[in-house]
């Protein structure tokens, strides 16, 4: 096979897999470009990528969880916890590196709690994470009694406002985390185990996969991703807000599902989730560019999610 046909075959494969959802993204971009002169510009796309970073990273974690047939509703609260942990580390006089390490560890710990409760106590993850969503949200408010905490560490705040090689650092972080998650999911044994377990739990157990351990690991990934989202969010806002990330879990779920992740488990990719997150970001930004009043934005956003998922399901059904 020549190189040309190989790349064509790969392209066709990609279009088959993501065609429906990619088409939705392109259609949205075309509509917004035609209605707002400022939409299609490098400045605005950098803008969109920065705005979507927090959701995209949280959605990478959510994809793992949904892939397993579980759900994690606590990530919005973990996003807020992460910012507050960082702020408190600085309040105790720690430097950037230890603060970052503690914040990420906190995310892993909260994820571990979700995973352990789900796997070991055999509770539905929906209930577990509804409960921890409240618990973590309460924890956020303890250090400051609900008040926001300022973050004045310059390295921390630089993440959200500085650039590297002409691109905002925040975008580099999304790219790196995307690649890590993508490779981990599609090229490693760990990823294959996740697909297998999500698709058929019994088979996974019989083939010797330690399902409990896998589940806990995956909830920890979700916690870590949410914590990194929280770092980015708090760096963008120069502060840890106790209501940060409120209801972001729903955007993350929407991004993953838009990207073709099946809520039944076993199906989903990071590429799809990234496109799903971009759709959400493009929609938020594009409607602002078009000056659509806020309440209409909510309605349109819901409708677009419905239509995009329907297009995707339909195109997959047509192939099957």
């Amino acid at each position: 096979m020549s190189e040309q046909t190989a790349s064509n075959a790969a392209f066709i494969k990609i279009m088959k897999q993501y065609g429906g959802i990619f088409l939705s993204l392109i259609i949205l971009c075309v509509i917004f470009s035609l209605t707002s002169g400022r939409f299609l510009s490098v400045a605005n796309f950098t803008n969109i990528l920065q705005q979507v970073a927090v959701i995209a990273i949280a959605a990478f974690g959510m994809t793992w969880v949904i892939l397993l047939g579980e759900i994690d509703l606590s990530i919005g609260s973990i996003i807020a916890v992460a910012g507050m942990v960082g702020a408190q580390c600085f309040a105790f006089g720690l430097g950037f590196a230890p603060a970052l390490a503690i914040t990420v560890l906190a995310g892993a710990l909260l994820g571990f709690v979700n995973g352990a409760l789900t796997a070991k106590l055999l509770l539905p993850s929906f209930i577990v994470t509804v409960a921890t969503m409240g618990i973590y949200r309460g924890l956020v408010s303890l250090p400051t009694n609900g008040a926001p905490a300022m973050i004045d560490n310059e390295t921390w705040t630089a993440i959200g406002s500085d650039s590297f090689l002409g691109l905002p650092i925040i975008i580099w972080i999304v790219v790196v985390l995307f690649l890590i998650n993508h490779i981990l999911l599609s090229k490693t044994t760990f990823g294959r185990r996740a697909y297998l377990t999500g698709g058929n739990r019994e088979a996974a157990v019989y083939s010797g996969i330690k399902v409990d351990r896998l589940k806990i690991s995956i909830f920890m990934i979700s916690g870590v991703m949410a914590a990194i989202s929280g770092v980015l969010l708090s760096s963008r806002l120069f502060s840890a807000q106790t209501n940060a990330g409120m209801s972001y879990e729903l955007d993350a779920i929407a991004a993953a599902v838009l990207g073709g992740t099946s809520l039944a488990g076993g199906v989903g990719t990071m590429v799809g989730t990234l496109i799903g997150a971009l759709i959400i970001g493009v929609m938020n930004n594009g409607m602002n560019m078009m000056s659509v009043p806020y309440f209409y934005q909510l309605i349109v956003k819901g409708l677009v999610i419905l239509i995009a998922v329907w297009l995707d399901v339909r195109s997959k059904r047509a192939k099957a």
């Binding site: 400022r38 510009s41 806002l237 309440f295």
Partner: protein, 294 residues
């Protein structure tokens, strides 16, 4: 195939990127649109913008600082002349203000001031005076003695200011004691807070609610506890519902009335002056009124 598709997208991108439509005028990012205060503020801004014949776009942050930042970023990309912000959080709004400043766009804040950033002008209720007014009035209603509870919202600086000044004014009267202070942001939370405080201190004689919702909830709690004759409630904001309650419900003694319509009008007027290159005062406090039963 890949090549043609790529070049097609690229050429489309260039053509469309070349057609800039500049959005002149004012971009306003408001805290919420689910509170009568902000609805009145937005309506006054729209009316004044129409009067002054200046373009005005309103984005709603829905109490999410991240959304507010994104809205302001979008205004910057659109190229508005002036940005008016009613901050979600007085400290966290710094990021949005810095970004606008870097892009050379002047910022006016309304209602909540920014804590760590310099803006071209701030228009807001004089919460210090308002807090003192509430405290003085409470002392007068209680004949300078009794026990007072406060329902607050500690993350909003303007509320902190009015509560602090209320306490300061109460502090001048040594026979009045502040026995409880709890947070009650929404009406439901405020109701629970008021009930808890009345449960713990049944001898409370006055409650100060940081806003209308808090005060109205407190009045409900007082009635439910059967303390109608004993407790006086003072609110802050003075929207229509609370003013009506003051007129009809003896528990609801008074409300400090803010004037969002004046604020909205002044914000647009100030923005218009800024666009015209005129200098504007850095602080434009709007003194609230005291609303008691007609």
């Amino acid at each position: 195939m890949t090549f043609t598709l790529k070049s097609l997208i690229a050429s489309a991108a260039f053509t469309l990127a070349a057609t800039h439509a500049f959005a002149d005028g004012i971009g306003a990012s408001l805290l919420t649109q689910q509170h009568p205060f902000y609805i009145e503020l937005a309506d006054a801004m729209k009316a004044e913008a129409k009067d002054k014949n200046v373009a005005l776009e309103v984005a709603i942050a829905n109490q999410d600082l991240n959304k507010q930042l994104a809205d302001v970023e979008d205004f910057i990309v659109k190229g508005v002349d002036v940005i008016v912000i009613s901050p979600v959080d007085s400290q966290g709004v710094r990021a949005a203000i810095n970004k606008a400043e870097k892009a050379g766009i002047k910022v006016i804040t309304v209602d909540v001031p920014a804590a760590d950033a310099k803006v071209t002008s701030h228009i807001g209720t004089d919460n210090y005076t308002g807090g003192v007014q509430a405290g003085e009035l409470m002392a007068k209603l209680l004949d300078n003695k009794g026990k007072v509870a406060i329902i607050d919202y500690p993350t909003v600086q303007s509320v902190v200011n009015r509560v602090d000044c209320f306490k300061k004014a109460i502090g001048e009267h040594k026979d009045i004691e502040i026995v409880a202070q709890q947070t009650g942001i929404t009406r439901a939370e405020a109701l629970a807070a008021a009930q808890n405080m009345l449960q713990a201190n049944p001898d409370i004689t006055g409650i100060f609610g940081f806003g209308d919702d808090a005060a109205l909830a407190a009045a409900v709690a007082v009635k439910a506890a059967g303390l109608d004759g004993q407790v006086k409630v003072i609110g802050f904001d003075g929207m229509e519902e609370a003013r009506k309650a003051v007129d009809s419900n003896p528990v609801m003694a008074a409300v400090i009335q803010q004037f969002p319509d004046q604020m909205g009008k002044q914000a647009v007027d100030t923005a218009v002056k800024v666009i015209a290159g005129e200098t504007v005062p850095e602080e434009q406090p709007i003194v609230p009124g005291v609303y008691t039963k007609k």
